[in-house]
Symmetry: C2
Subunit: 344 residues, 2 copies
């Protein structure tokens, strides 16, 4: 005799009542419910998840899909860990188990997602690293699996999303640099087709145009989102005959490599080239200090979780006015890296 049956026998009531009591159904006497809860705690009874899943067609698991491997090591890790932390705290309140689904660098993300879904792994999903045209959106929508994405995409299927304000960052950065007299401004973007790259570059071009300037295509640098990528950008940029006087670094970690590249060439950030980037725990240890944008990653995670739950029927009533689509604001922390000013 195991499981709920054992508990029922111990209390000398039926398993149906036990189940109802444990699941908070209304049609059970409060006195019996108390006894059941008590006995459950005493005997250390925990419902078997397989049994529940089989019956209810639900797993109680939410998956947070991220990519792993060397390519994005610099980028993904510390950032996503913090976001994950925020997500975790929300789901814990609902006794939902959150797991990280790390798609290996060797595997295609679409294939990986297909496997996860076929397996019936999760009740809901959080996607990150959204591509400009991301097939995963359609795929999940077609199967009616609730999901939320960290990042917009052109392939919008009506799902909730949150995103960083790449357009705002581009706008503010360009305005700021132009005000300091810069005319030739470089921009970085991730090497793949991730959507944020487009948003950032396009908005940079628009912002420049508003000042009567154009974004020189030669000044758009694609880079892997890690230290090595930033180093490589520095090498390319410094080898140019008509070198830009300022640069926007869209990614958090490439600043470290870019600094290194400059110092090897005997140049100093903020003196020879103006830099605006993004803050991270690591960037605090750059010298000269980095001017860059920052945000609460943990709060972002919380908002992500709430947006997802708001679209899941079983939980939506908890979050009647969750923000389903939001561009997340960032603050600019002023440092020394963009001190370089050109004469008017």
């Amino acid at each position: 005799m195991t499981g709920i049956r054992r508990l029922a026998q111990h209390l000398d009531i039926s398993i149906g009542t036990v189940s109802r009591a444990l699941n908070g159904r209304p049609d059970v006497n409060e006195e019996t419910r108390r006894k059941v809860l008590e006995a459950a705690a005493e005997l250390g009874y925990v419902p078997n998840q397989s049994g529940r899943s089989l019956r209810q067609g639900t797993t109680n698991i939410i998956g947070f899909m991220m990519q792993t491997g060397t390519e994005i090591t610099g980028q993904g890790d510390t950032f996503f860990m913090s976001v994950f932390d925020g997500v975790q705290t929300v789901f814990a309140r609902h006794r939902l188990d959150l797991v990280a689904l790390l798609c290996s660098s060797e595997e295609d993300p679409d294939d990986y997602l297909r496997r996860v879904v076929a397996r019936g792994f999760a009740d809901g999903l959080i996607l990150s690293a959204t591509q400009r045209n991301d097939p995963r959106f359609e795929f999940l929508a077609k199967r009616k699996i609730p999901f939320v994405t960290l990042g917009r995409s052109l392939t919008d299927v009506g799902q909730p999303w949150l995103d960083l304000d790449f357009e705002g960052m581009a706008q503010i950065s360009i305005d700021r640099l132009v005000a300091k007299g810069h005319r030739r401004i470089a921009v970085t973007r991730p090497h793949d087709d991730i959507n944020l790259g487009h948003l950032f570059v396009d908005q940079s071009a628009k912002a420049l145009a508003a000042h009567g300037l154009t974004l020189d295509p030669d000044l758009v640098f694609s880079s892997k989102p890690n230290e090595a990528g930033g180093y490589h950008v520095a090498q390319q940029l410094l080898a140019m005959k008509d070198r830009p006087t300022a640069i926007l670094l869209v990614n958090e970690t490439i600043a470290i490599g870019f600094y290194r590249g400059m110092s090897e060439a005997g140049l100093k950030p903020g003196r020879d080239i103006a830099i605006i980037g993004r803050q991270s725990p690591q960037s605090h240890f750059l010298s000269p200090s980095l001017t860059g944008f920052t945000l609460s990653r943990r709060d972002l995670g919380i908002a992500l979780a709430e947006a997802l739950l708001a679209t899941m029927p079983a939980f939506s009533h908890f979050y009647p006015d969750a923000e389903l689509r939001k561009v997340w604001p960032e603050d600019l922390v002023e440092g020394e890296s963009d001190a370089f000013t050109l004469p008017a």
Copy 2:
């Protein structure tokens, strides 16, 4: 009609045979097996995991428990991501699903593990961040849940483990620095009770003793394993009246903070203080270059996975001679950070 029943109906054979065919049982005609596989692919049939789990008492999931949150952000992330990548590739071969169980910084790791286990979440576990006395070991052993740990512990319960060679690193580092004339050598260790700290510090002391030297307790610096921790160590160390001439940095990321602390004080690694640390993708962008140990994180992950599978009855025959307990060797990459030599 759904699931396996639908498939059986479509083929006009019994569900029992279908199941046997799909699971590679011997007592099914190869011709029928072919047909079943074909039809399964055609209809896109995928066995329901809840059904399997319920019947077999097994989940097909392996959990890799890590910690998240600000405290270890610097440390854990890129390192564990790479290890995870290695683990993933092994489990994929056996159609086991690997998920990352990220214990939030707010939650006690022991409680978290208890929840995971009570839920019957995984068939096996990989533990990291092992403490000197780690209650999780006993807990899992008592419940007969297969697990492997990345890191030794005093609370050994016979489970397989892999670990980095902290003792070897300490020995080689001390020998090397002493040969360069250093006598006052500082050592870092993580601020918590993680076991590697003990191994590293103890072996450093022994190695010094072999040269007739002693490890000054004031020269053992506890730090959080991130950039900020390294920065803090530098501040403390540089404020000493009788400053050490060399230091060992046990953690990968603190070097960045330590460098920053030195340069703010107008000092240069490798010229004013000799440093031996650990290599990481980030440390490649330090200047002067870091002398430090390195290893293949991915291979470590592969070995971890194999050690775990070797102890699980259903898979052990695949890995008859897996290394169940191994101190993982590291290579020393020579850089400029320990160039500082004292006159004899």
